[in-house]
């Protein structure tokens, strides 16, 4: 049994639908979790890859306002993955997202799963950022590109599932010391509230720096292009 706990930070300009996307996913995946979690900007969700691997995503929502930009490094410190959300109907949000990427590259040294997400594909007639443009950019930073619509629930679930898979891959490479990996079958009986850190053995592997902070090959985002 393998448990992977990854911290996912969600970055993006104000109003691009960061929280909406997360909430849409949480609502769909965990309908039994109602008010206590919905409404907070921190989410803990468990994804079962198969019988042997379970991934716990700790999703940290961030404030997208320009004035809080200076504080963002506190949020993505020790993050294992970043969801860079932009609004396909706003070039401004796309440019702003590029700014986040540069900052991430400057400040984060550990390998990190990068996902670029274009939100609001339910408004194709107002589209300002073309798919190819976003794809090219994502490729250039070594990220995967996905499109979704939090409003109509298009392609939201896929993003988080792929994210979990990428984290599993990342843990397989074992070049990240912040990503918590536990091999403990007994652990599964534990209560879900406490992070499994406390009792399990942590695999700590020496850090090796990559040129790109992003890890893994960009996954062709065909799944949401239909």
């Amino acid at each position: 049994m393998k448990i992977i706990t990854g911290k996912v930070v969600v970055l993006g300009y104000q109003g691009v639908g960061k929280t909406s996307t997360i909430i849409r996913y949480i609502e769909n995946t965990f309908p039994q979790q109602t008010t206590p979690t919905i409404g907070a900007s921190f989410f803990n969700c468990k994804i079962d890859i198969d019988d042997n691997i379970k991934v716990t995503l700790q999703i940290w929502d961030t404030a997208g306002q320009e004035r809080f930009k200076a504080m963002t490094p506190m949020f993505y410190r020790n993050a294992n993955a970043a969801l860079l959300v932009f609004d396909i109907t706003s070039t401004n949000s796309f440019d702003s997202m590029k700014g986040w990427v540069q900052e991430l590259k400057r400040n984060v040294e550990e390998p990190m799963v990068l996902f670029v997400v274009g939100n609001k594909i339910d408004l194709p007639e107002q589209r300002e950022v073309s798919r190819t443009e976003a794809m090219q950019y994502s490729k250039s930073i070594g990220a995967s590109y996905y499109e979704c619509s939090a409003m109509t629930d298009q392609g939201v679930g896929v993003i988080f599932e792929k994210l979990a898979l990428e984290l599993v891959k990342l843990s397989g490479e074992a070049v990240n010391h912040t990503l918590k990996v536990y091999n403990d079958s007994e652990l599964m009986a534990k209560s879900t509230e406490l992070p499994p850190t406390d009792t399990a053995n942590e695999e700590i592997v020496n850090l090796s720096l990559n040129d790109s902070i992003a890890y893994g090959n960009p996954v062709p985002a065909g799944c949401c292009f239909n």
Partner: protein, 692 residues
Amino acid sequence: MYATKQPSLRIKQADLKCKNGCGYFGNADWDGYCSKCYRNQMEKERQKKSKQSQQGDHSKATSFSKFEEKKRQQSDKKTKYFLPVFRKTSSLKETGRPEKYIDIRQMNPDADKLLAEFISAYGEWGEAVRKDFLKCVQSFTSKIIHELDLKSVEELADIAQNYYQLYNNRLNNNAVYQSVTPEVRDKLLDFFERYSMVSLYTFLFCPPSTNDEEKDLSIQDRIRKLSWVNAHHLDCCISETSLEVRDLVYTAINDLLGMDSMKAPQEKLACVVRCCRSVVEVLQHCQGGPVSADEFLPALIFIVLKANPARLKSNMLYVTRFCYGARLMQGEAGYYFTNLCCAVSFIENLTAESLNMPQQEFEAYMSGEVTCVSAWESALVACEGMHQLCEHLSLLKGLSERMTAVRDDTQKLKDDMHRLKEEINDKVTSVLERTPLVIQPRKTILPLTMEFLKSLPPLPDKVEGAASDEVDTAPKYYQQNITMNQMGLSNPKPKLQLDITPCVSLPSASEVKPSLSTEFLTVASPAVDKSLDSITPDDNSYLGLSKINYDIDFSDISAENSIIEDLGESRRSPTMSFTPDPFSPMGTGCTIMQSPLVPSAAEMPRAEDPPARKNDFVLPFLEEIEKEGTSEETLLDKVEETPTICLPPPIKPTEYTGFSKQGSKIPSIPCNTGDFSSLNSTPNAGSSKDTN
């Protein structure tokens, strides 16, 4: 020590003696020493302290008491306005410091209490586990105390983190803990941290070797200077007047302030989490729906600004240093603590730009030139009356806003109503123009026509066969029209009809004798034309007139039910191009149409004279009506007078001439139908006109 013994009723004499055992009585105020020993003790302390200050930061130690005093004042002020009374623990520090080598448990009743609570809650762990636990705690605390003066706080923090990790490993690997369930292991690790930190709190919290105090004071000063910042400046939607929201905000502020009174890092973290949850609740109250980080962070900043917690920086640094790393990095507590760090960092670096206000305005606020009073501010600082005043002001502001909104809406509604009225007026006039009201023959004629109709039967017999098909298809309305035609026949003067309403005459005519009307229908039908042709094929006037007659029927029917046969008929006879004009529903058509009819009518009597006979028949009534109707005299009157001279018996041709003459009355018929149609179905009437 003395306090713990108080419960027993009798105090032994030994307990009152000096701790040093010199034989004199001690005093609790002097830490249990006699006056002499206490003085000696104090002297020793002073020497120790001077040694330390020589080693460490000299200036910090001397200015320390001053800082303490300031802080106490601030926190005292806070406690006046908020319910929980925060115990000042820092005062212990000065007195406690010299005794640091004394058994830690002795000077930490809190730690003792914690231990007792923990054992009672998780009593199942055996003696071996407890011993090992205490051994670990002892080694940890003594190590920290030993290193206290030699190493910086950051190094101590590293030691602490290492010990946490060590104990974590020990929990999982040591045989002693083999029987302990994973859940209790978690609790044990948590308790290890809590217990040792409570024991070491006085040494590790805000240690004099750091400039934490200065940071505290600077952030406190900063927040005080920013007291004018309100929710509006931060773009967060906290409604100041709602009582519920205010209560929640106070709860959040209290939770944040409570952080200072806790000793263990995880307890401080729990306070932050509670505070943040309250903030989320506030936001949910104010805006409804899920709360995103975009809204949460500004609200948290607002709360921090309004709370201005005592020793905020020290607390945060303490948590950062001595809280178990994994807890701080991840999980909800980690997230909220990061948010708090963000909020504090935002406050420290706050500029005019970050509040979206002009630099001048910002400086004016900062220098105190401009003050803005908000309900929050007054609640924290001013008296209750002032607070209420502010609250009422903001309430009034909201009310006036709503008032203007209501006024605007009222104006809009008024405009809408006016527009609707105009629209209806326009519609009505346009409809009236399209389908004018024309007055129809009056009721009084009816009995006459009835008699007259009865006198007519012989004619239809001829045509009946041809017309039988049409009887089926022709609607009642058609029949009515024909009866009207018949009535018109009886009084050939068109002007007479003006006074009389058609609605009365029509149903009565049809009611009286429907069968009869059907007979007349045959007369009016195209079949009549054919029969007419067969009888007098040469007579143009007859033909034209009959066609005119027919056309009237067509237009009438088309208003209600279009009969295709008729349509074909009308197309067949293009000669009557003039007819549409007289039959147009316009009332003015009456006089115009007469002119073409007159010549034919005038010719009629000469050729056969049947209308004359018929007119004679009707004449008495006509005269009666003539007296009533004061409308203009036309040529037709003259025409009619001529036939009266010779009165041939009513034979079939006369019937036809009657019909032909009836053409003069034709305009009245469409008007009649127009009237009906306007009552029943306006669009049809319009369409009928179009087809014409």
